[in-house]
C-alpha cells in the first residue's frame, strides 16, 4: 500500500486549489499592485489621475472579488479550513516572502522616501508622483510618502475589511466592529486631517482618534506652537488631546474594556484586524512569550513617559508671570500623577499582582521618581541624564519607526498581526493596565462546557492562552485582550462571551467545574 507523506500531500489538499473566480480576483488585484510598482520605475504616465484610479480600484475590486469567490459559495460559518496547510498563513514560503516584501517597503518608506519618488525641491516622481493628483484633490498639496502610505493603508483596511465581513458574515459583533474600524480609518485618519489642512494650513496634521502615547509626538514643541497659532480651533484640539488621555479614555475603558479603542477605533488595530486577519494564528502562545511581552511593553510605557516629560520640560519656561505652567510645576505635576497611580494601585489592588509585576512596578517607579528628583535637586539642564532631543529621536526611531512599522507590520506573516499591539504599543499597555484593574469588561467562560480544543488560543492574535482559563471555568481578564471577539466566534461549544458586566465575581476561579456535584464544588472552592 502506498503511503503519503503528510507534507508532500499538502500541495494537493482540496482546500488549497483556487477556483476560477478566485483567480480572476487575484489577477485584478495584482494588476493594481503592478501599476503602483511600475510607477516606481519612473515612467512618465500621461494621465496620472486615470492610472492612479485604475490602480486603486483594481486593488480594491480584486480583493473584494477574491473574497466573494472564497466565502460566498460556502455556507456562513467559521472559515478556517486549510489555514495551517496554506503557505501564506502557516509561515510557509509565501509567508516569508510577504514578510520580507512588507518589511523592505517599510524600510524604504521610513528611511529612504526618495526611492519612492519624494522630491522636496521639485515635483514628485515615481510612486509618490503617481499619488499627486489625489493629494491635490484633498488637501491642495502634492503627495508625500505619508500620503501614499495613508492611502494604501486606507485601501487595505477598506478592502480587507469587506473580506473580513464576508468571512464572518454570520457574526454581527464582527460585522459592526469592522464597519467601525473602516469608518474611523477613512474619516478620522485619512479624510478629516487632509480637509483640515485645506481649511486651516497652520493646524498640524491631527488624527483626532490618535491619543498620547500612541501619537507620542502630540505634545512636542512644534505641534503645541502650531496648535496655539491656529487660534481657537487649535486650542480646542489641544484640549481634546489632553482630555482624551485623562478623561474620555478612562471612562470608555471602564465601561467597555480597551476594545473600544484597540479593535473598534485604532488604525493599527484596524489594519491588524482586516489585512492582518490571515495571520492571527501565528502569535506565540507560550508562557515564556507572555513574560517577554510584559517586560517589553511596560518598558516602552516607561520610555515614552520619560521622553514626553523631558520634551515638554525642555520648552517650558521658569517664569510664572509669563505662563502658569513652569518647568518645576510640570515636574511636580508629573511626579504627583505617577505617585497617585502607583500608591493607589499598590494600596487597593496589590493582591491582583503577581510577584514579578510588583517588582517591576516598584522598580520602574523608583527609577522615574529618582530621575526626576535627581534633576530637581541638582538643577541640571538635562532632565533624565540624556538630552530631551536625544530621547525624542531615539524613541521616534526605535519605537515609532522600527517597532510599530517595520517589525509591527512587516512581520505580520511571521509573528502574527498584533506584534506591535502586544509587545510595543504603550497605549495598549496603559489601557490594558486599566482593563485588568478597573473595568467591567471580561470574557465570561460558560460553566463547564469547555472541551480544551484550543481554537480560542490558536486564533487569539494577542497570544493569550484563552483555553488555559476556559478549561478551568475561569473568566478571561487579561490586560492584553483587545476584544476582537474571535475566540468566542471560533469556539465550537459556545463557551466564551465578551461582556461588560458587574465588577463582583469578574475574576473567578473554580477548582471543580460547574456540572459536578454541587456539594463537592462548594467544598473545594471554599478551601
Amino acid at each position: 500500500m502506498k503511503t503519503y507523506d503528510k507534507n508532500m500531500a499538502i500541495s494537493s489538499l482540496g482546500t488549497n486549489s483556487l477556483s476560477s473566480p478566485q483567480k480572476i480576483g487575484l489577477t485584478i488585484g495584482y494588476l493594481g499592485l503592478f501599476i503602483v510598482l511600475l510607477a516606481a520605475f519612473n515612467p512618465s504616465f500621461p494621465f496620472k489621475t486615470i492610472w492612479l484610479s485604475i490602480a486603486l480600484l483594481s486593488l480594491f475590486i480584486g480583493i473584494i472579488w477574491y473574497s466573494r469567490a472564497s466565502y460566498l459559495p460556502k455556507l456562513a460559518g467559521i472559515k478556517n479550513d486549510g489555514v495551517w496547510f496554506n503557505a501564506i498563513s502557516s509561515k510557509g514560503w509565501a509567508g516569508w516572502l510577504a514578510g520580507i516584501a512588507i518589511t523592505s517597503f517599510y524600510i524604504v518608506l521610513y528611511f529612504y522616501p526618495q526611492y519612492l519618488g519624494l522630491n522636496a525641491n521639485g515635483s514628485n516622481t515615481g510612486i509618490i508622483g503617481l499619488f499627486d493628483p489625489l493629494s491635490r484633490l484633498l488637501s491642495g498639496n502634492p503627495a508625500s510618502q505619508w500620503f501614499v502610505y495613508g492611502t494604501l493603508y486606507t485601501v487595505a483596511i477598506l478592502a480587507f475589511g469587506v473580506k473580513f465581513i464576508l468571512k464572518y458574515r454570520h457574526n454581527r459583533y464582527e460585522i459592526i466592529r469592522t464597519i467601525s474600524v473602516m469608518f474611523f480609518q477613512t474619516a478620522f485618519a485619512f479624510l478629516i486631517p487632509e480637509i483640515m489642512a485645506r481649511l486651516n494650513s497652520t493646524l498640524p496634521y491631527y488624527d483626532l482618534k490618535n491619543m498620547w502615547p500612541l501619537n507620542y509626538y502630540n505634545f512636542e514643541r512644534y505641534r503645541i506652537n502650531s496648535f496655539i497659532e491656529a487660534g481657537d480651533i487649535g486650542l480646542v484640539m489641544l484640549f481634546f488631546g489632553v482630555l482624551s488621555v485623562f478623561v474620555i479614555s478612562p471612562i470608555l475603558t471602564f465601561k467597555y474594556g480597551k476594545r473600544w479603542y484597540c479593535s473598534w477605533v485604532c488604525g493599527c488595530g484596524g489594519l491588524a484586524e482586516t489585512a492582518g486577519d490571515a495571520f492571527r494564528q501565528l502569535s506565540d502562545k507560550k508562557l515564556s512569550a507572555w513574560k517577554v511581552e510584559r517586560w517589553v511593553v511596560h518598558s516602552v510605557v516607561v520610555f515614552v513617559t520619560l521622553m514626553t516629560t523631558a520634551v515638554i520640560y525642555s520648552y517650558l519656561g521658569n517664569d510664572t508671570s509669563k505662563y502658569w505652567l513652569t518647568k518645576n510645576m510640570f515636574l511636580i505635576g508629573v511626579t504627583l500623577v505617577l505617585s497617585l497611580v502607583f500608591f493607589g494601585v499598590m494600596l487597593f489592588k496589590r493582591n491582583e499582582f503577581k510577584k514579578d509585576a510588583k517588582y517591576g512596578a516598584i522598580g520602574y517607579f523608583v527609577i522615574i521618581i529618582s530621575l526626576i528628583g535627581l534633576h530637581y535637586f541638582s538643577g541640571d539642564g538635562n532632565v533624565f541624564l540624556f538630552k530631551s532631543e536625544t530621547l525624542r529621536k531615539s524613541y521616534g526611531f526605535l519605537i515609532g519607526s522600527i517597532f510599530s512599522g517595520v517589525i509591527g507590520t512587516g512581520f505580520y506573516p511571521i509573528f502574527g498581526n498584533r506584534v506591535w499591539c502586544r509587545f510595543g504599543c504603550p497605549m495598549a499597555a496603559i489601557l490594558g493596565f486599566q482593563q485588568r484593574l478597573f473595568s467591567r469588561f471580561r470574557i465570561t467562560t460558560n460553566g463547564g462546557q469547555c472541551i480544551s480544543c484550543g481554537n480560542c488560543s490558536t486564533y487569539c492574535e494577542m497570544g493569550i492562552d484563552v483555553r488555559a482559563y476556559a478549561q478551568k471555568g475561569e473568566n478571561i481578564v487579561r490586560s492584553s485582550c483587545v476584544g476582537c471577539g474571535i475566540c468566542s466566534a471560533v469556539c465550537p461549544r459556545g463557551v466564551l462571551k465578551l461582556e461588560n458586566g458587574p465588577l463582583k465575581g469578574r475574576i473567578d476561579s473554580n477548582d471543580i467545574l460547574l456540572g459536578n456535584d454541587v456539594d463537592l464544588m462548594k467544598l473545594v472552592d471554599k478551601n
Binding site: 482546500t15 459556545g494 454541587v518
Partner: protein, 445 residues
C-alpha cells in the same frame, strides 16, 4: 507518600492527576500507549481540517508535566497483576503501584460487518486513527468517495472533515433522521437539511450490509440494505464507541460493558479505580447511562476521584446533565433532559420553536401536569450554563424559564435575539400570557 499509577492520558486520567497534585505530594505516573502528552481528543478533527496543528490541541505546554511532577510513561499496558500490585508494560517492564486508576477510554464499535478489516476502513477515535486517515483519505484524488457508517457525533464530524478537503461523502444513517435516538424529531430533521446543504449524500434509514474489497485487500465499495452498491475508497465506521478493556480480561476485575465501579469509582478490587469512558456505573444516577463516553463526565469523575485518593472520600455525583456539540455550522447545547421520541417519558411534553428561515431552534421539555421545566436543547443559540444549572436546581416551572430566557442568552453581543418570537409562539400554542423579562445582572451572577 503513595505511588499512584494512572493508565490513560485522556481528559479523565489527566484531570485526576492534576487534582491529586493540587492536594498531595504523592508520586503520580501516567501511562499512555497513544501519545507522549495529553491532547484534546474532541479537537482531532481540527487538525485534519487545517484549523490547528497537533501541537495546538495539547492543552498544556510540554514543560507542565515535569514542573508538576507528573511522570509520563509511553507504553502499552499488556497486563495488570492486582495481587502483586504491579502492571506490565509491553510484556517487559514492570511498574509497581499503591493505587491504580484505569482511564483507558474507548475504541470504535465494529459490529462484525463483512469486510470491516479491509484497508481503507477505519474508525475515528485516537491519534493513530487520525494519522491513518491522513493515509487513507489525504485528498480527493486518492479518496474519490468516502462512505460513513453511523449517524452520531463522530460520524457528522468525520463528514465535515472529509468535506473540508472536497472529498465526496455518502453518510449512511440507520435511524429515520440524523441522531434521532437522542434528538427530538424537529431538531433531527433540521440537522438533516443542514447535512444536505453541505453537499453530503445523506441516506437515512439505511444500514450497511457488506464492505466489498478489491483483490489487493482495499475497500472498493459498500453494499446497503436498500440494495445499493456505492463505490468508494474509504469507509469510516462511526457507529459509537465501546470501553477499551480487553487487556483486563484475566485481571480479576468485574467487567461488563465497561469496568464496573460503585459510587466511589472503586472497582471490585482494592485500590483499583476506573474513570471516564471505560467505567461502568453499577448504580447510575436517574436518567443517566451506566457508561457515559462524554468529555465532561470523564473530567468530573477525575475531579471526584482525586478527592478520594487524597483522603476525602467522595461519591461521584454528577450534577444536572449538560452537553454540547457542533453539527457542521450549527452549535448545539443541552441542559437537563430533553428526550427523543424513542425515549420520551410519559410525563414529558415539549415546546419547540424554529426560526422561519435560519437553522435556529430550541426545544423545552416540561412535566405535563406540574409544568416543571425539565430541560432545553438549543441549536444556533448559545445559553448560559450557570443560569440553566440554577433553574434546574431550583426546579423552576416552564413559564418562569421562558419569560427569563434573556438572562440565559449567551450569544455574542449584537446578535439578533429571538426571545420575543419564542414567547409569542409559546403564548399562542400553550394559551399562556407571559411577557418577556428584561435581562438583569443580579439574577445572572
Amino acid at each position: 507518600m503513595q505511588n499512584i499509577v494512572i493508565i490513560g492520558n485522556g481528559i479523565a486520567g489527566v484531570t485526576v492527576a492534576r487534582h491529586i497534585r493540587k492536594n498531595s505530594n504523592d508520586r503520580i505516573i501516567i501511562i499512555s500507549a497513544e501519545t507522549d502528552h495529553f491532547f484534546s481528543r474532541t479537537a482531532l478533527m481540527y487538525v485534519y481540517m487545517g484549523h490547528m496543528k497537533f501541537e495546538h490541541i495539547k492543552p498544556y505546554e510540554d514543560w507542565f508535566w515535569k514542573k508538576n511532577r507528573i511522570e509520563l510513561v509511553r507504553g502499552y499496558v499488556s497486563e495488570i497483576r492486582p495481587k502483586e500490585k504491579e502492571l506490565l508494560i509491553e510484556d517487559a517492564r514492570i511498574i509497581k503501584f499503591n493505587k491504580l486508576v484505569l482511564a483507558t477510554g474507548s475504541k470504535p464499535n465494529k459490529f462484525g460487518w463483512p469486510g470491516q478489516d479491509l484497508f481503507g476502513v477505519q474508525g475515528l477515535y485516537s491519534k493513530q486513527d487520525l494519522d491513518l486517515l491522513e493515509v487513507n483519505a489525504p485528498n480527493k484524488e486518492v479518496c474519490k468517495r468516502a462512505v460513513i457508517v453511523g449517524g452520531g457525533l463522530i460520524g457528522i464530524e468525520l463528514a465535515e472533515m472529509l468535506r473540508s478537503r472536497n472529498i465526496a461523502v455518502t453518510f449512511l444513517v440507520r435511524e429515520q433522521n440524523f441522531w434521532d435516538g437522542v434528538l427530538p424529531e424537529g431538531e433531527a430533521k433540521m440537522i438533516n437539511e443542514h447535512i444536505l446543504d453541505h453537499h453530503i449524500d445523506l441516506r437515512l434509514a439505511t444500514n450497511l450490509v457488506e464492505i466489498i474489497g478489491s483483490e489487493n485487500g482495499r475497500v472498493k465499495a459498500v453494499k446497503t440494505d436498500k440494495g445499493d452498491i456505492i463505490d468508494c475508497d474509504f469507509v469510516g465506521l462511526t457507529a459509537g464507541v465501546t470501553p477499551n478493556i480487553t487487556f483486563l480480561n484475566n485481571s480479576g476485575l468485574d467487567l461488563g460493558k465497561g469496568i464496573k465501579v460503585n459510587k466511589y469509582l472503586e472497582t471490585n478490587l482494592e485500590d483499583i479505580y476506573a474513570i471516564g469512558d471505560c467505567a461502568e456505573q453499577l448504580e447510575p444516577e436517574e436518567n443517566r447511562r451506566a457508561v457515559e463516553a462524554v468529555w465532561y463526565t470523564g473530567r468530573m469523575m477525575g475531579e471526584t476521584l482525586a478527592q478520594t485518593l487524597c483522603g476525602n472520600k467522595t461519591a461521584y455525583k454528577p450534577g444536572n446533565w449538560f452537553n454540547s456539540a457542533k453539527f457542521l455550522d450549527i452549535e448545539y447545547q443541552t441542559y437537563g433532559w430533553v428526550n427523543s421520541l424513542r425515549n420520551r417519558k410519559e410525563y414529558e411534553l415539549h415546546f419547540h420553536w424554529r426560526h422561519l428561515t435560519e437553522k435556529i431552534c430550541i426545544t423545552l421539555a416540561y412535566h405535563h401536569s406540574t409544568k416543571k421545566f425539565l430541560g432545553i436543547n438549543t441549536f444556533g443559540i448559545r445559553m448560559r450554563h450557570k443560569v440553566f444549572d440554577r433553574w434546574l436546581n431550583e426546579e423552576r416551572d416552564l413559564e418562569y424559564v421562558v419569560s427569563h430566557l434573556r438572562d440565559a442568552n449567551f450569544d455574542p453581543e449584537f446578535y439578533r435575539q429571538y426571545e420575543p418570537e419564542i414567547i409569542a409562539k409559546f403564548n399562542s400554542e400553550l394559551n399562556a400570557q407571559i411577557s418577556l423579562k428584561k435581562k438583569q445582572w443580579n439574577r445572572i451572577f
